[in-house]
Amino acid sequence: MATSLRCFLRSGKKAVLVAGRRGFQRSAPAGVQVTVRDALNQAMDEELERDERVFLMGEEVAQYDGAYKVSRGLWKKYGDKRVIDTPISEMGFAGIAVGSAMAGLRPICEFMTFNFSMQAIDQVINSAAKTYYMSAGLQAVPIVFRGPNGASAGVAAQHSQCFAAWYAHCPGLKVVSPWNSEDAKGLLKSAIRDDNPVVFLENELMYGVPFEMTEESQSKDFTVPIGKAKIERPGNHITLVSHSRFVGHCLDAAAVLAKEGIECEVINLRTIRPMDVESIEASVMKTNHLVTVEGGWPQFGVGAEICARIMEGPAFNYLDSPVTRVTGVDIPMPYAKTLEENSLPQVKDIIFSVKKTLNV
């Protein structure tokens, strides 16, 4: 019962408050339903309040309340100085954000989607990521680049690319990819407090999804550490590693597989770079099987990196079969609904891959 309820919550359908059912006897501190969007909003609100050097800039972040309403209410509360609408000039405003970070501010630079960050990618890599190294520690760049990443629904090829692999390729950057509300809030707060350039990859389809958040996570000082993965579901038979939206798909697949007696351990990477390989290795050394799941393209992707790292480390000898990568199809994203659905991993694809990997 509890499992299916949890499953209900995670796959994002209308959720039910679990805590109130017990009557007089209260369970552990009552959780609260918070959408990913609101969690991100809370994170920014709290950090803007906490440190006056923090400010947000990007297209439509102020008076429009954010293209996806993530920054709703912030302009009204903090005003023109702290929440800045920019013209459509990614390369220009990303550079301005980086420059302001060099001179002592702590900007949050929003890209309406990470597809548009390609226009500004030189500023992210050459001006932000590499500077602390090139200056041998003289010049830090405490900046967060955030925005939705990867596929949305029906937005077609130019608006659906996943940039996790591209950014995670580069030393000097931290790359974070939250899945649920706790991830979103805790990791964004950590990113803003981090003295380094952080690429914060959100997911548009997750914005509206509510998750239960613990009371602890409601605290203004609640952060989730960057660089540490989380085991969302323990299991003994096979390890599933994923990030962002597909963590939910993995958990759904795990629920179905559990009925057939296959217990999956689901790892939510949370951070792509620096990747918490140790958590994956520890899990693989227990389960002997590994499937990676991501929305990005297969070639040179997150799954490819995990495969390479597993091979180079102690967990290789514990594998009973090669690692399986479940990825987006190696094509530009099509528009038509059926084609689009079949361009990304579905729960059935994960289930299929698990069984193939386990040879059942």
Binding site: K81, G92, I96, A103, L105, Y133, M134, A136, G172, N196
Partner: protein, 400 residues
């Protein structure tokens, strides 16, 4: 000796208009020998070229004051940069400096004049022809040359090289053409945000002036009235492409369109100083950004791998050297106004030569950064990080 002194004395008297006739050679010699500093003109005013204006009612003054002290300081600064760059040329040809080396000789008046118009708490960012600014912003010749030779005594511990030198309120040294311009506007945004009345001087070349991101930056800087002085150092050539072959409009001071602009004689340090002062005042008054075009010239090619004569003539280079050299122009001005003596300049030259030679000596003898430093400074304020080496067995450590 006495005759020579007499000749000098007579020449100086002629320039300043004193009556020479009465002096006998021996008297003339004694006059020169007995000359003290009090005999030098403490301050003079010079005519400087009028700036071309864009969207400005009035421009910088056409007369500039120069004190003896500031004049000598200008001379020292420019001559140090000149000698440092020529030393870098030497070291590069000896293969002790590797990779990119973009020299600034010829353009010294720009760096020296700008620095005289701003304060150390103002900010400055430029592109890759940065050694001059690195010096004027406070880094020693020693630390600059040692960075060029890739030694641990270099300003960036040898990890940055020619294009990546930094100092307080000096943001490099940037290798990607034009990328420094939005960065500079961002620094100006920080000044405005913090309300500290500081300005940011953001430099770029005539080549970079055609970069799209510069126009994006102009738009935002004007929109938000950022205290940013955009300065185009127009040395006539973007690598091997002359301005006429690269730009539909070579009026770089007008390219800011809605942003007021000035075109300035970049070979005259006083002109640069007055214009930069004017620009800084404009920004500090909250009027928003301003564009300055400094017309200048580089003697060297684009970089050390460019002899610099396939796209321009040796005669052109020679002409600028003989008629428009910024250091010579300043020296002549000061000599003709009796603000300093030739001996003084010679003395300064000797001091500079020693400083540069000592720096070069250090830069060739200081050790390279140790291999342990290889992975450091990837992240700031972080606990030590594991870094993957060349192969899986190479486990390296990175310390912040």
């Amino acid at each position: 000796m006495k005759t020579m002194l007499a000749i000098i004395s007579k020449a100086l008297c002629r320039i300043t208009g004193k009556n020479v006739a009465a002096q006998s050679p021996s008297e003339g010699a004694r006059v020169v020998v007995a000359r003290k500093f009090a005999d030098f003109t403490p301050q003079a005013t010079f005519d400087i070229k009028k700036c071309d204006l864009h969207r400005l009612e009035a421009g910088p003054p056409v007369r500039a004051e120069l004190t003896r002290e500031q004049g000598l300081q200008f001379y020292r600064t420019m001559q140090t940069v000149r000698r440092m760059e020529l030393k870098a040329d030497q070291l590069y040809k000896q293969k002790i400096i590797r990779g990119f080396c973009h020299l600034y000789d010829g353009q010294e008046a720009c760096a020296a004049g700008i620095e005289a118009a701003i304060t150390p708490s103002d900010h400055l960012i430029t592109a890759y022809r940065a050694h001059g600014y690195t010096y004027t912003r406070g880094v020693s010749v020693k630390q600059i040359l040692a960075e060029l030779t890739g030694r641990k005594g270099g300003v960036a511990k040898g990890k940055g090289g020619s294009m990546h030198m930094y100092a307080p309120h000096f943001y490099g040294g940037n290798g990607i053409v034009g990328a420094q311009v939005p960065l500079g506007a961002g620094i100006a945004l920080a000044c405005q945000y913090q309300g500290n009345n500081q300005v940011c001087v953001t430099l770029y070349g005539d080549g970079a002036a055609n970069q799209g991101q510069i126009f994006e930056t102009f738009n935002m800087a004007a929109l938000w009235k950022l205290p940013c002085i955009f300065i185009c150092e127009n040395n006539q050539y973007g690598m091997g492409t002359s301005v006429e072959r690269a730009a539909a409009s070579t009026d770089y001071y007008k390219r800011g369109d809605f942003i007021p602009g000035l075109r300035v004689d970049g070979m005259d340090v006083l002109c640069v100083r007055e214009a930069a002062k004017f620009a800084a005042d404009h920004c500090r008054a909250g009027k928003g950004p301003i564009v300055m075009e400094l017309q200048t010239y580089r003697y060297h090619g684009h970089s050390m791998s460019d002899p610099g004569v396939s796209y321009r003539t040796r005669e052109e280079i020679q002409e600028v050297r003989s008629k428009n050299d910024p250091i010579s122009m300043l020296k002549e001005r000061m000599l003709s106004s009796k603000m300093a003596s030739a001996e003084e300049f010679k003395e300064i030259d000797t001091e500079i030569r020693k400083e540069v030679d000592d720096a070069a000596q250090f830069s060739t003898s200081d050790p390279e950064p140790p291999l342990e430093d290889l992975c450091n400074h990837v992240f700031c304020s972080d606990p030590p990080l594991d870094v993957r080496g060349v192969h899986p067995w190479s486990r390296l450590k990175s310390v912040s």
